[in-house]
Symmetry: C2
Subunit: 374 residues, 2 copies
Amino acid sequence: MFEFKITSQNNRARTGTFSTPHGSLTTPVFAPVGTQATVKTLTPAHLKDINASLVLSNTYHLYLRPGDDIVSEMGGLHRFMRWPNPMLTDSGGFQVFSLAQTRQIDDDGVTFKSHIDGSTHRFTPERAVRIQENLGADIIMAFDECSDPNDAAYSSVAMERTHRWAERCLKAKRRADQALFGIVQGGVQADLRAESARFISSLDTPGIAIGGLSVGETKQEMHDMLDVVTPLLPENKPRYLMGVGTPEDLINGVARGIDIFDCVLPTRLARHHSAFSPEGRLNLMNATFAHDERPIDETCDCYTCKTFTRAYIRHLIAAKELLAGTLISIHNLRALIRLMEQMRVYIADGSFESRVPELLDQWANNAKRNQVTI
Amino acid sequence: MFEFKITSQNNRARTGTFSTPHGSLTTPVFAPVGTQATVKTLTPAHLKDINASLVLSNTYHLYLRPGDDIVSEMGGLHRFMRWPNPMLTDSGGFQVFSLAQTRQIDDDGVTFKSHIDGSTHRFTPERAVRIQENLGADIIMAFDECSDPNDAAYSSVAMERTHRWAERCLKAKRRADQALFGIVQGGVQADLRAESARFISSLDTPGIAIGGLSVGETKQEMHDMLDVVTPLLPENKPRYLMGVGTPEDLINGVARGIDIFDCVLPTRLARHHSAFSPEGRLNLMNATFAHDERPIDETCDCYTCKTFTRAYIRHLIAAKELLAGTLISIHNLRALIRLMEQMRVYIADGSFESRVPELLDQWANNAKRNQVTI
C-alpha cells in the first residue's frame, strides 16, 4: 500500500503511480475539490465521466457539518459521498486560519470559532488526525500552521510549530490504511523552506506536501520556493503542492517535480461564468456569446463541449439557471484533468521539458490568476 | 404525423401512442417542465436516464429570454437545449395572466409588462403562434385566456374569447410539422365547459388541451369538470390536462381519460427539499434523516435512490449544496414517470380501473397539494 513508482522522468518532471486502498493514482494528478463531501453541483457520475481520480475534501468543513462522527457512522467519506476512488483530506489547519471567525494559537493547538454559528472548537494535531481517521480518506495531512509569506519572523515560528505538530500527528495516527503526509512550510524564505524540506523528509512519511504557497506571494516567489524545496525531497515519494492552482501553475509545478495538485479554481470560476478555452478565459455571460454556436472548446471531449453551444450556456447564465454552473464546472475540471493527461504523455515520451514554453503559451490567457475577481 | 393510436382502454382510461416529428410518445405521459429551455438543475442526460419522453417549455419565458428569434437562429428549441425527443410549448397565455406585472386584455390580444424588466410587450393569437413556430416544439398551444374559476361571468367572456383566438391561431399557423392543440376553458361552470368542449372539438385540432384547472378550484370541482369535458371530446385525439399535477391528480386524470400531463411540482418540491416516497412526502431537511442510511425510496430505480442515502442528501441540504436539488429532482420526476409507466401497464392488462383505490391510497400522503407551501 502507498507504493510510489516513477515510470518516466523528464529532467525534474516525473510521471508515476501511487497506490492507495481505493485504487492507484497516475501522477501528476489534479484533484477536484469537494469541500463539503461534494464537488459543487456535480454528481460522482460526472466526476467519473471527466476521468477524475483523486478527490479532495475539507476536514474543517466536514468536522463542523455534518460532523466527522456522522461521516464515520455512514461508513466514511468514500461511502458517504459515493466516490469509490482515492480521496484526500486536508488537516483543517488552513481553514482554521483563513475561515474561522477568531482563533487563538498556542503550541498545543488552535481554539477557534465556527464561521457557521460562532461556536467554539479546538483543533490539536491529535484531534486533526482523529477527525481525519473518522473521515477515512486514503491520504491525510499533518496539522500545520500556514504563515503570512511576507512575515519572515512569523514564518519561522509557524514552521517550527508545524514540525512539532507533524511529529505529534505521526505519533497519534492509528489507521494503517491511510497515508499521512507531512507538510513543508517556511513562507518565502529560502533558508526556512530548505530547513523544512529536510526536516519533513526526515519523518519518512509516504508522501510530502508543500503548504503555504499560492497564498499571496508572487509567482516568482512560488517558483523560487519550489526550486529550493523539491530537490531536497526524496525522489521516491509523491509531492503534493496544496491549493494550486491555475493551468500555468500546474505546468510550472510539474516542471519542478510536483505530483499532486488541488484547487477550487475550476469550479469557482464556473460559478462565476468563467470557462477555460483555447482563446483564453471566457466570461460566458458576455453578450457576444448569445449567438455563438460553438462549444466552449472545440478540442474538448467533455459532455458540455460535446453537447452544448456557448449560446445555450450564455442563456442559462442570463436566465440564472443553475445548470450553467454544472456545465461549466464539468468543462473546467475536464480541461485541467486533460492538461494533466497531456503532460503525463509528454513526460513519458520525453518531450515534456521542450514543450513547457508551448504549453505555457497555450494556456497564457487562462492563467492570470487575478484576471477574474472571485 | 401526429397520429394517435389507442392500444388499450380500461373504462375511460386509455393507453396509446402519439407520433411526432421527434418520435412517438407512449401515453398517458407526464412531461417535466423546462420553463427556460432547461428542466431546472438537470442535464438532458439525466432526463434520458429517468425515461422522460415529452418535455414542456414556456413560450412567455423564452420569448422574453433569450428571445424566440435567438432560439430559432440556433436551430429551434430541441437543438438549443439538446433534447432530441418530443417537446411541447404552451402559448404564453397563462404566464401573461399570472406572471406579467400588468396586463390589458382586449378582443385582439393582451398588452403586458415583462416581470423581468417591466418592458411592454403585446401577444395576439397570431403572435403566440409565430413565437411558437420560432421555438419549434412538436406540440404547440392556441392562445387562450384563463379565468378565475370562481367568477362565472368572467369565465364566460374568457371562454368566448378563447374560442375566437383558437380560430385565429389555426388560421395563422404555417408549419406542418407542429400539432396545434385547441384549449377548452369555462371555469368550473359545467355548461360552459360542455360548450367549450364541443366548440374546441369542432376545430378538429390533432389534440385537445384542458386549461383553467388546478388554478384554485377544489379537487371535486376539477373532477366534476373532467367528468363533463372528456366524454364530449373525440376518442381518437390525445387530451392534455395543462399544469396538473400531484400524483393523486395524475391517477384521477388518467381514470377520466387524460393522456398528457405536465407540472412543475416535482422539481419545485425538490428545490424545497421535499421528496415523494412510499412513506409520504419527506422533508429531507428534517434532522431525523441525518443518520438514515436508506435511499429516499427503496423501490425506486433512479440514480439518486440507487446511489445515495437520505443522510447524505440531508447533509447536502443543510450545507446548502445545490447538488441536493439535482438529486431530489431526479427522484421526484422519476417517481411520477414511474407512476405513469405503472398505470400504462395496468391499463394494458385491464386492471387499472380496479387498482385506482389502491393507487390513490399508495400515493395519499404524497398528494396533498397544500401540504408544503412552495
